[in-house]
Each structure stands twice: as structure tokens, then as C-alpha cells.
Subunit: 338 residues, 2 copies
């Protein structure tokens, strides 16, 4: 092992933010190289995943995943390359994915990682279309949304890692797809490249409700909600009878410091016999293999395109994370570490 | 036919209220006796059903049922006795139930009514435990709530026609049942007579959230919501992972003149992978027969008790309806007409 590899850089959480996090919450630290023990592999990080749900873990309160600890390394989806192996299952040069630390190197148990096949698609897709975001879109839309031909599907956060996949799977199922995103560049991409039927830049729409109504002349049958807040209020006011609303994220609310208020939605759900269901992708863990196989088929058939927004360098991971809340990313936000 | 039967009294809607209706919205009118035509039966009204959902029909706006028309007779569930018949299916003396007018007499088509068996239970139960409220409880709890042994079920509007049945069916399924109602008389009844594990008088609870938490030491798995508003906010703050929330009614909001606001519930549903679903009993029309058979078995086995609050006289129907919004009724609110 060469000298320059002896240093392991890590991103540490040093402060819990109130509201939107800034760079002072994070620190780049160096530490000794991890030493794999029996059965472990030493991984060199290639790509980090930067995800909105991590905002919840930065608060010191119970959510669906445990909070990050102060002064410890942040943690998230990582694609790594095996550089040393004391495992029979993994060999040097293998690519793997797992929920690991934001650092250059990591010692992982066999059970923490799974192999990624670099022949299907670039390994970074194991963090996007062929990873948690792709599976989130797949199960949320198909299991909760249950799209049927000619139904209208609206997806918010449409240009994000999950939203881009939701819209394309809905198209595969013969739906009319309307995306809501935060810039003209994004809406143009959704329509021109991903085949959405309509896309709305909510920042440019003087009255989102009116624009949405024009884009959904037959009402809304499925609303895949990544954002919450006023955007969701506008969509929910247009639901049809028997509408389904998979709740995937509420990014507009993650930085709120008080319980947000808004119009009560129960009367609308009641009068339309509508279903709303929260979920996290882990609920479907026993069906991940099937989901990834199907997503990979669609990718290879070119029915499912993927979009990555790659920032270079571990030191820029906090900036990439903060950028999520400014709506800067088109597609899956990644950090290329090596 | 005797002279006194020649007059048909009707309750007419003469004014649409803003907020809570009062008696000036209704008028008792008299009209000529209806004349049944070929295939019809002439019914004499025995019992009228008085239901919260009718509030929505009094507004002139689209909901899940069409609005009542001004200056026309109100309409709702009725148990009647056949006094004349030109039908092969119904004979003089038969009891029937249907969605008919609030009046002394009614000419009904065969398809509008179904026979009630007076040997199973008093015929008035066809408007309650063996009618729409019973079926509403049955399908909402079993189909959406899917109760499992030892789960905690909270029901609001617990002392009403639907709530009393929900709680008892949940007990039959081995659940811990907590009712929320509006008087000590009601909560005592729920515990002492219907076997609820706990019941809370929300009017007397200085902090409903605290009292609820004490009554639900293992959190809330199913919340059967009849009322909405702040009571529901308190219950929803206590839901467990994978909670189910059948939305049956929102009586606390029916008289609101603006869209009510409150804490956003999506973050709570999201972080608990919880399901909320609105429904109306009509969604289950193809399974009504099965539901009524099961409810009748439970009634005959004394596992399911029914409670009726009977007001005498057609002329008092508006008062009974208005009383629903003051929380006056224990069990099914009926008007005995003859």
C-alpha cells in the first residue's frame, strides 16, 4: 500500500443545524486507515450517494432511521471497490454497494455489502436507477400507486433521482405523466429526454393550481409525492375518486423547525375514497432482487434512462448535500470520490 | 283508506345554512298522498335515519353524493311497512329499507328497497347495526384497518352509530379498543356496556394528547376516524409504524365555511409507513349481503350490542339532525314516524 493511501479522509457531522444546513455543520477530518479483520473487506470509495432523507438523520430525534451522531462520520449509500479481501465472497477488484461511511476507505463485513455487476451499467447506477432511488420509485409507484393505462400520474420532485424513474415507469405502464420540478432546464429535460407528457416549473408558475389543472384535464389518479407542502396541496385538490398517493418524501418540510400547518387533507381524501400511504424502500427488502432485475431490463431496453449529477471530490460532499434543498440537482446526486 | 291517512307530511329543505344548520332551514309541509304506479309499493314510514353525512348534501356543492335540492323533500335511510303493493316481490305488511324521503308515505320502485326480516332483530336495526352504519364499521375496520390480535384500535365518534360497532368488532378481533366521545355518560356506556378497554371524554380532557397516551401505552395501530380536526391530530401523533387510518367521517369539519387548516400529517404518515384511506360504504356494495349476514350472527350471539337514540315524530327530525353536531346522540339516531 502506498503512502498516499495511508490517510483516510472522512466527513464528520460537527453541528446539528436549525433549518437548512450549511457547511459549518460538517468537517473534513483525517484518520488512520481502517484495518479489516477476519471476514471483512477493505473498500475504496468510488461514489457516495447524497440523499434528501439524510436531513432527518441530522436531527437528534427519532425518525424512521436513527440519527447521525455528532463528531462521527456521516453515513450513506456508497459504491466501493474491494482493495483487500479476507472474505471468500468478495475478491480484489469487485465493485460493491452498501450503506457505508462518507470516507475514502471502509472496512466492511460481508453482510453489509452486495456485489455490483459493472457489465449491466456503470457502477454508479447502483446508487441511483439500479439502487435505492430506483427501487423506491418502483415499489412506491407499482405497489401503492398501482398505475393503470391512461391514468394521470403526477410526480413532484420529478427531476430527482426517484422522480425521474417514477415518471418513466408510469410511461411504461401507459399513463399520462405530469412532472413538477424547479427549473425550466429540468422541465425541458423531463419532456424532451424522458418522455413526460407535461412538466411544470413550480417556481415560474404564478398559480400552480391553474397550471396543474390545465396539465391534468382528467384529474389526478396517482400523486407520487416527494416534496409535500404547498405543491402537494395544489395536486391533492385535483384528485379523482379512488386516487392513490404514495408518500415518498417531504423535502419541502425537512428543514422546518416547527410542525408545519396547511389545509387539512382528510375531507379531500374522504370524499374521493382516496388512499395515501407513507413508505420507505426498506419495507420491500424481500423483493429488492426482483425490482433490480426489472429495472435493469428496462435500462438495457432503453425504456428507462438515468440521469446523474456528479460532484467531484469527497471534500465537496457537504456542498452537494446542501444543494439538494436548493433544488440544484437534475437526477441522482452523486459525489465521485476516486 | 281512512281520511287521516290522506295527508302526507314531508320535511322540506327551505334554506342552505352557513355553518351549523338550525331549524329555520327546514319546514314541515303537507302534500297529497303519493299514488303508486304499476310495480310500485306504497310504504308507510316507520323509522327515519338521521346521519352526519347528510350535512354535506345540504350544501350546494359536489361531494360524494349529490346535494339536496331546495324546496324539495329531504332524503335518507327509511324503514317502511308496505301498505299497498302492485309488486310480486313485496306484500302488504312486509318491512323494507331504502333510501327514501323524509315523509309519512312513499311510493317506491321494487329496486329502491330491500326486505327486512323482523325475526332477526327489531326492524329499526336495518338503519343501524344491520344497515349502512353497521356495514360502514364492518368494511372500514376490516377492509382498510385489518385489525390483528392485541393491536390498539382508537375510534373517534365512538358512541355514534358507526363507532359503537367499530369498537365491538375490534374487540371481537382481540384488539385493545379506546373510544373517544363527548360525554361521561357515553364513555361510561362504552366501557360498561360495550366492553371498550378505555374511553375518553374529549370535552373533559384538559390535554387530550396526554390522556390518549395513557390509554394507548403501546401506541395506535388503527385509528378509525369519524370526526377529524384536533381530536384526529392528537391520535395521529401517536401512530405506530404501519398504522392504518380508515377515514369514515369528518363531522367536526362539516359545518366549516372555509377550508380548515391544521398540522400537516404527511410527515407523520411518511415516517411511520402509515396508510390513510377515505371510503364510503357504497364502495363495498357487492359485499353488503355478506357483511349483513356476519353482523346479524354477531347480534344474535350477543357479541354485538346496538344502541338507538329514538326521537318521536316526523316533525322532530330536523331537531334530531341538528343534535348530531352537538354530539347529543348515543348510538344510532332515529326518528320514529309511526
Amino acid at each position: 500500500m502506498t503512502v498516499q493511501q495511508q490517510i483516510n479522509r472522512q466527513i464528520i457531522l460537527v453541528k446539528r443545524p436549525t433549518g437548512i444546513p450549511d457547511e459549518s455543520c460538517f468537517k473534513l477530518a483525517t484518520t488512520a486507515m481502517p484495518q479489516p479483520v477476519s471476514g471483512q473487506v477493505l473498500l475504496r470509495t468510488r461514489f457516495l450517494s447524497v440523499d434528501p432523507y439524510m436531513r432527518g438523520r441530522i436531527n437528534d430525534r427519532k425518525s424512521y432511521v436513527a440519527p447521525f451522531q455528532l463528531n462521527e462520520v456521516l453515513n450513506g449509500g456508497v459504491v466501493g471497490e474491494v482493495v483487500e479481501s479476507d472474505s471468500n465472497e468478495f475478491a480484489r477488484g469487485d465493485f460493491v454497494v452498501g450503506n457505508l461511511g462518507w470516507q475514502d476507505y471502509f472496512s466492511a463485513d460481508e453482510k453489509e455489502i452486495r456485489k455490483v455487476n459493472p457489465d449491466i451499467a456503470p457502477v454508479s447506477t447502483a446508487l441511483g436507477v439500479l439502487g435505492m432511488p430506483g427501487l423506491t420509485a418502483y415499489f412506491g409507484l407499482l405497489d401503492i400507486g398501482q398505475p393503470m393505462q391512461n391514468e394521470t400520474v403526477v410526480v413532484s420532485g420529478a427531476a430527482g433521482a426517484v422522480g425521474t424513474v417514477v415518471g418513466q415507469i408510469a410511461k411504461i405502464h401507459g399513463c399520462r405523466v405530469v412532472g413538477i420540478a424547479g427549473s425550466d432546464k429540468k422541465t425541458k429535460y423531463l419532456i424532451d429526454e424522458l418522455g413526460f407528457d407535461a412538466a411544470i416549473n413550480y417556481r415560474a408558475a404564478p398559480n400552480l393550481g391553474v397550471v396543474l389543472k390545465d396539465s391534468c384535464p382528467n384529474g389526478v389518479d396517482i400523486y407520487f409525492d416527494n416534496v409535500g407542502g404547498e405543491i402537494s396541496d395544489a395536486v391533492i385538490s385535483l384528485i379523482n375518486n379512488n386516487a392513490r398517493i404514495p408518500l415518498c418524501g417531504q423535502i419541502s418540510l425537512y428543514n422546518e423547525t416547527q410542525i408545519p400547518t396547511g389545509p387539512r387533507i382528510q375531507p379531500q381524501l374522504l370524499t374521493h375514497s382516496a388512499l395515501m400511504k407513507g413508505f420507505i424502500v426498506r419495507n420491500y427488502a424481500d423483493r429488492f432482487d426482483k425490482g433490480i432485475r426489472q429495472l435493469a431490463v428496462w435500462v438495457q431496453e432503453k425504456k428507462l434512462k438515468y440521469v446523474e449529477n456528479v460532484v467531484d471530490g469527497l471534500e465537496n460532499a457537504p456542498k452537494a448535500f446542501i444543494g439538494l434543498f436548493a433544488g440544484e440537482n437534475l437526477g441522482k446526486q452523486l459525489v465521485k470520490v476516486s
